[in-house]
């Protein structure tokens, strides 16, 4: 297996992008990554996207987007694993370069969510849960995480304020991210008093509906060394699944797929949680970040809420989590999220993160999760000395 490096990254401003179509957002973003990588032709493309079929009525977007990017005839395919689509696309590209099949792979993620109304977007997102035995009973996505939140609060004493502090922290980081959809700060009071969605979660506990894309270029590490930029290698990749329906998990508050994907990534990289300098994790809801930090072993089981309150996961804390602003502030164009996480870690490891830069990080991790946790993909990145 060859060492793989990320040589180019690209992202555009996220939000409600009325003036651009799925293909235009894609091409603009992918060109930034190709430019950053200094390549104009790639061997293949993976596009992480959860549901272009339901959001814009367009399937078969691998061929569509390679055509519009001027990369006609190359292999190009969409990768789907609900909200983990982007992270899984990164894994596909990683495996293709590591195996020697391709020397330059463009991995991107995209979702154009505002071409449908709120009800249709809710329906599309709901299709990541069990339609027959969760959706049939009127359970929504915020509802699924609300079930986890209440169980976590009762089991570990996690407080409503601690949930809110996840949003406060991530918005504080996102305020320094020019590409974020909501680059402003919020307070604990604002979160707790915002519109109720699914008790105990309010609207400011939830990631938003977003249009956006992100792209990265993967090459063999030996090629990356010929460039002038720091070499950021993918040293670990882990992917795992779990019982599909939340009710059928052994423990509602424990994300087993995240634990397993993390263990697999740590194992491949030869790293431990203590080796990480920063993480980008899937905070689709505030409770999710709390459970993820526990499952990845960066905080003790049950202490996720207390760790946020103690500032351990803040930008200047013991282990910064979601320096980009996370899904909460940066936005959550579902399929793009996993790729944007990779981009943030690469920017941090290169020292290009501007006002939200962590001091001299060497190792970073991404965690991207689908549904109520039935899929998780993790990657570990390291800057070569």
């Amino acid at each position: 297996m060859r060492d793989v490096a990320v040589i180019g990254v690209g992202i555009t401003k996220w939000g409600e992008i009325w003036k651009q179509s799925l293909r235009d957002i894609y091409v603009e973003t992918a060109l930034l990554a190709l430019e950053d990588a200094g390549v104009d032709r790639v061997d293949s493309m993976y596009v992480g996207s959860m549901s272009p079929g339901l959001f814009v009525g367009q399937e078969h977007i691998g061929a569509l987007l390679s055509d519009y990017l001027g990369q006609k005839h190359i292999p190009a395919v969409r990768v789907e694993s609900a909200c983990a689509s982007g992270g899984v696309a990164v894994r596909m590209g990683f495996m293709e370069v590591a195996s020697g099949i391709s020397d330059a792979v463009l991995v991107s993620g995209i979702e154009k969510m505002t071409d449908v109304g709120g009800d249709e977007a809710t329906y599309a997102l709901g299709s990541a849960a069990d339609q027959e035995y969760e959706g049939y009973h009127g359970l929504t996505f915020p509802g699924l995480y609300a079930l986890i939140a209440r169980a976590h609060m009762e089991k570990y004493g996690t407080t409503r304020e601690q949930l809110a502090m996840v949003a406060v922290k991530n918005h504080k980081n996102g305020a320094n991210n020019p590409n974020a959809q909501f680059p402003f700060e919020v307070t604990v009071e604002q979160v707790i008093n915002s519109v109720k969605v699914a008790d105990p979660l309010n609207i400011l506990d939830c990631s938003p509906i977003t249009d956006g894309a992100a792209a990265v270029v993967l090459v063999p590490a030996e090629k990356a060394r010929e460039m002038k930029k720091p070499v950021i290698k993918i040293v670990g990749s882990g992917f795992a699944t779990d019982s599909f329906a939340l009710a059928q998990r052994k423990e509602i508050t424990w994300l087993e797929a995240t634990y397993l994907a993390g263990q697999r990534a740590y194992g491949m990289a030869g790293k431990k949680p203590e080796d990480l300098d920063l993480l980008e994790v899937h905070d689709c809801f505030t409770i999710a970040e709390i459970c993820v930090t526990e499952a990845l072993g960066v905080v003790e089981k049950g202490r996720g809420g207390a760790a946020v309150e103690a500032g351990e996961t803040a930008l200047e804390g013991r282990i910064p989590v979601n320096t980009s602003g996370g899904l909460k502030s940066k936005g959550h164009p579902v399929g793009a999220t996993g790729v944007a996480q990779v981009m943030e870690v690469v920017k941090q490891l290169r020292g290009e993160a501007g006002k939200r830069q962590v001091k001299d990080p060497r190792v970073g991790m991404t965690q991207n999760m689908g549904g109520s946790g039935a899929s998780t993909v993790c990657h570990i990145f390291e800057r070569e000395a």
């Binding site: 009800d119 027959e132 009973h137 929504t140 509802g143 079930l147 169980a151 009762e154 329906a245 939340l246």
Partner: protein
């Protein structure tokens, strides 16, 4: 809109609570499965779910999917049945502020929603306080 067959084929579960059981693992599966995910056993036997259980966790849905608009706000919980099976379902006939984890519930056959003016009416189980 889906054809009625999608609804009709789930009736054994939604109306009659039909499940199946892996005897070696002593585990019940709902909905029924063709293979036991724990041991790989394919010779699962038919059984029927317990009717009573305890509320493990719940939420109040205030932003509902469109087919549930006329019911919101409503409670959805995960209930651990007395046979160990954990089910997702609505908790009804109970004030929200009287609801608590651990409360005893039992299943009742109720209307879930209807599909537009000319579509089918969908039924299934909901949970009510034990009586």
């Amino acid at each position: 809109m889906s054809t009625p067959s999608r609804y009709w084929r789930e009736i054994p579960q939604r109306y009659r609570k039909e499940a199946n059981r892996c005897a070696p693992c002593d585990l019940i599966y709902f909905p029924p499965r063709l293979i036991c995910p724990e041991c790989g056993n394919r010779a699962l036997e038919k059984t029927v779910l317990a009717e009573k259980g305890s509320l493990m966790t719940y939420t109040i849905i205030r932003v509902p999917p469109s087919q549930f608009k006329d019911q919101a706000p409503y409670a959805v919980g995960i209930v651990e049945m007395d046979d160990g099976v954990k089910l997702t379902g609505q908790v009804v006939d109970c004030e929200f502020d009287k609801m608590h984890t651990g409360m005893r519930l039992q299943m009742e056959f109720r209307k879930m929603y209807d599909v537009g003016h000319s579509g089918i009416i969908c039924y299934g189980y909901k949970f009510v306080p034990e009586y």
